[in-house]
Subunit: 265 residues, 6 copies
């Protein structure tokens, strides 16, 4: 089976630099796959991406050696298994709040006897190799999102679920759940405490800690702190940011022309 280089990087103790795809397009997926990311996540939750486009994007990513991952729309076996069969080498699952949900998620990623994933890796085996059914359980990455106060309170029971490889902090949802204004700095006390709680638990349980950031500065800070799976912005944010910057630079010659705006989330 094709090597899941995310595991290799982790074994070296290094952080995985991950790109995030919310644009529903196989072209932007292929384009992003050439920019140097270690892995790319096809986001079928908040990305504007359904299954059929996700499939095309997973194909596009595998024109390169970048590891294709996907975020499932929810903690549901159908979506998780379809993304795996389509060739994702790992799943990030939103809103895993307790042990039962963590077990349901991990089970959906693993064949029996470790889980209840149904066998039929139609594209996955073509892409990753004929021995897929035998090797997938040890290769596929299962990463649970920690993004609520409930999950914070249950970090130990979540992280002790066998087969869970990593956890991933979603700062926006976590902020809302903590009663903070969404979009605030990672460095604000309440959020920092929560982030530290998760990271410490991860280290305790030998689970990889991952986190979403919205700037390279934050990404570097989180790597420094010990996170080993770090995302820097989304493709949507990068495109709107770059376009907004260009328009603003050129439009200063036409001060009257209407205001422009970028996407805030």
């Amino acid at each position: 089976m094709r090597e899941n280089t995310i595991r290799t990087i982790w074994q070296r103790g290094e952080p995985v630099i991950n790109g995030w795809l919310t644009i529903p397009s196989a072209w932007t997926a292929e384009l992003m796959a050439h920019q140097g990311w270690d892995s790319l996540i096809v986001d079928t939750q908040h990305g504007l991406i359904g299954y059929e486009t996700a499939l095309a994007m997973l194909q596009a990513i595998s024109t390169t050696q970048v590891i294709p991952l996907a975020r499932s729309a929810w903690n549901e076996p159908s979506g998780i298994m379809k993304l795996l069969d389509a060739g994702a080498l790992g799943i990030i699952c939103p809103m895993v709040n307790n042990r039962k949900e963590a077990e349901a998620f991990v089970g959906a990623c693993r064949y029996a006897p470790l889980g209840y994933r149904s066998a039929g890796p139609t594209r996955a085996a073509l892409y990753a190799g004929d021995d897929y059914l035998l090797k997938a359980n040890e290769s596929i990455i299962a990463m649970a999102m920690i993004e609520t106060v409930e999950a914070l309170n249950n970090v130990d029971e979540i992280m002790s679920v066998p087969g869970l490889d990593a956890v991933y902090i979603g700062p926006t949802d976590l902020s809302i759940s903590l009663g903070l204004k969404p979009g605030g700095a990672l460095a604000q006390p309440l959020l920092t405490d929560a982030i530290d709680t998760v990271l410490k638990a991860a280290l305790r349980h030998h689970v990889i800690g991952g986190i979403h950031t919205s700037s390279t500065a934050d990404a570097l800070a989180m790597i420094d702190k010990g996170f080993r799976f770090v995302t820097v912005m989304t493709d949507t944010r990068m495109l709107s940011g770059a376009a907004n910057q260009a328009v603003t630079a050129v439009k200063k010659i036409r001060p009257s022309s209407g205001s422009s705006s970028s996407v805030p989330y």
Copy 2:
């Protein structure tokens, strides 16, 4: 009929700041439409965009007040007319090299007696208004690309075709045709001469001069020179540039990790 604000800006003597869409996605089209551009070109020539996606992108742009334009794949009536029926308020046509080609192009954009466009503005009339058939000839913009030595030699005969609103310089093709290396600076002598030739002819014929640039600095320089329709990069370039910058910034902590590359064209 809905006002074509490109004409309004031109009547004020100001430059139109145009965005360029090569990503085949209604989402990125809608996203770009919120960044402050005056107009957006759906590029069905070198963009990875076929008719069906172009239609969706034209719909997406018209969720805003940005003027939707399109580049036809070639100087062919079928493609030009389908883009107009889909709601583009102007067409940029590649490789217009002589008077005959300019007439064929302009004719495809105009109803009789000014041209031979066939009537059936299925979406255009819904989007732009019930009086579309009566007003389209004076609203739709016809912009011919000047990008070969042959066209340079024929600037006067091309620009004197009635109904041609603007010309647009494609520096990459023009460079190749001039025997220059593609991707070079606009400021190199041979290219600058060609650009000046086109702009002077445009001023002489009361035709708008337009040009493609790949940086805000170039865009500002060209506006300064007298161009009144200026594009700054493409969406593909913006996304790959921003992603490459982010990866490079974060990966400096992992110097061994493989090189990344952005898209050069």
Copy 3:
């Protein structure tokens, strides 16, 4: 955040006249959005519409001021949240039969602390405004379908769920559940009783009453009765009805030609 004019109409005490989209097409969605409806529902349950087409239809509707709504395929968080992130300003959820189901549905439409919707309004914030995360909870409409005897028996517990804005009667399912032949008149006693039961409960709980009808006469009658969200037929029914009428009118000159049929549901 963009005004949800459905709430404005309700505040004036007037009925919302809603159109219903089952055709999987961004073009028919845009076409319908120009016919004068207050709102349009993209039906991902019985409409032949998956997520990717729903997204395109929501974009198409927002080329106008018509309020985009969607029916989720089922009472499932993944589908509900994806439709909201794609820009629907309200969700109609089928088969809400008891308080637990009503809470699950309403919770999926609301950010914490009112619910468990996950934050990531990728298109919604572009379309509706930068303050989306702060305002969505009070703007987004949650409308539960009452269409079974079980739901009839539980109207009070359903309607007392905080955050539920409206209920919507599906007469076909309700008829089947009541043991009636589907497609019968709204005026038949058993069905009328059920309709009245729901409407009275709605008035009692200060929840808006909504209902599906299959003719303008029925729509007017229901408005008269007190419903404030009324649908008149579906796009599929309108198209087949109009086509059937045209064929029949012209074919009377060719009596031998085979029978034609329209769609009954």
Copy 4:
């Protein structure tokens, strides 16, 4: 090969009642195919339909016995041949203005030695039968649109091209070419004269006369006059008309609510 029942109806001297598809959707195509039309035209010129959707629509129509036809985007061999290979049993070609154009069009519809169509009826043979290559030349219908003054002046040379089965009048383009306001009555003198000119020439050359109409009354009048291929409106017009009628009927209770509009073309 599957019987082309259009020829059978013509052999009986009866008119073919044709439906017109401009909505890009396999669902509306299938829906229309159940309404009693003899044939349906997938319009890839002014319909919002590209090749990929046209293919899906041709499949949808062939779930019934209705004859699938298509309008090519222009008089171009690539588009014409792709539609035929996809299973259209006839092509209507826009803007055929003289003998040379008529020959180019008919030649694209016929295999050698009658024309220059390339052999490879991938779907056509599956749908229409294994003997397709042997029978297609006598089954496929070639119908040229007469819609300019130039074409009017050349009716005889156009209609005497061997293999041309029918001509079809496009009243909107013909009106514009005649200097009339588009959308006027078929009965206005100048247009009526032109229509009569075409019909008489068709009878003279034993070619079928066809015409586009926008009401059942006009359709019946044209059949009465001698046309044997008559279209009544388009699917887009039918849907917008029916929706507009419904909204207007219900909104009379809310006179203040904004004006609604239907599609004029």
Copy 5:
């Protein structure tokens, strides 16, 4: 309502020869529908097929008399009901492990009072007939997959659920659940015992026994054993097998050229 000929074949005591579609394409679906299968399953679980493609494939199959079936992605009402509304005349549901799951599955396929399917057979009624709502409960086939040890242990409680028409053995998942290597022979003792257990229970409960096979020899053996719904390979396997055979035959002239591989699952 259109006859469900699967029931007719079963009433004659004969086996249904079923084809299996995993390629996401309406063209291959139509092609397969002409090869002589009694029924075709659109596999939305392990097939690379989402809802929108499944709809197109169901349309393509119904250009013929072959019975269209679908496998749902999971035991979920939303997916099951959408496939039925799209025109599938039966559903195969994966991983039905106990009575509760069997009841949930069968209930999703039946209108009240037999189940909880929601009424709105948008395409199903167009395809299968105006009396669909009245007849669907007795025509639609509900087939539960038996593919785990848990299901084996619960065969009697599963098969005694009223309205379950058939069971279907998935040998790959069953092998894994039994602790066997996936892809082994049906004839190995442990698997054979399990297969016999299911078939005997099926005969006992007057439920049809179905099974997946990967060769015509296995298919014939299973029919001989008493199975009455038998699949022979998948379209993906057939295509890769035929291509691999052709390449190998021609490449023997170029022994150095790299190894080729076919898809193993």
Copy 6:
């Protein structure tokens, strides 16, 4: 620039074994790319493939080292250039009948000064390398189809066009043009003579000879004769053939069941 291994194989004097894609699916394209072919042709002429699917298929092929080629729908610059920009490393052009047509075709494949291809290799440069604009002229393969008597008569003038790399015989069209029944044996005298004429001319002009075959036996015979680019069947034929064989084998147990048919072309 990525090596075009077709040229490498030719330099070794060996034949290229080519697969042919007519199924509009990125999945079947990826599947075929794993079967050992040297190159794959995405057929946008007789394949049921439009531009948007062709793009996805070219991406799918480039998940492997197989060389992606495409057949243009016709000898038209727009289609040819769009396929090249999408990443095809060579174009096969149908119906090249004389020197003028050959020059038009080759010119569309080459940048100035060798041709008139427009610069903008959006995906091609990402896939094939940053130096694409400098190297494409010597890497991209231009292959003209010889498939009419006119072309046979003009083989020398066609093959002497500078930059033409190869010719490709289409036996079905050539048979029809020769007055033979389509689908006959390559070995029949008239066709054999024509094939030999083309091959001899190719050897004379140092142009590669290519040919379409419909069996491995024919492919081997043609390689033996001296052809160095040989196709064996199409994906559509392979799938229908394999399916038909399977159905026939299993249905012999049910002799009464209706006849099955495979696709003849």
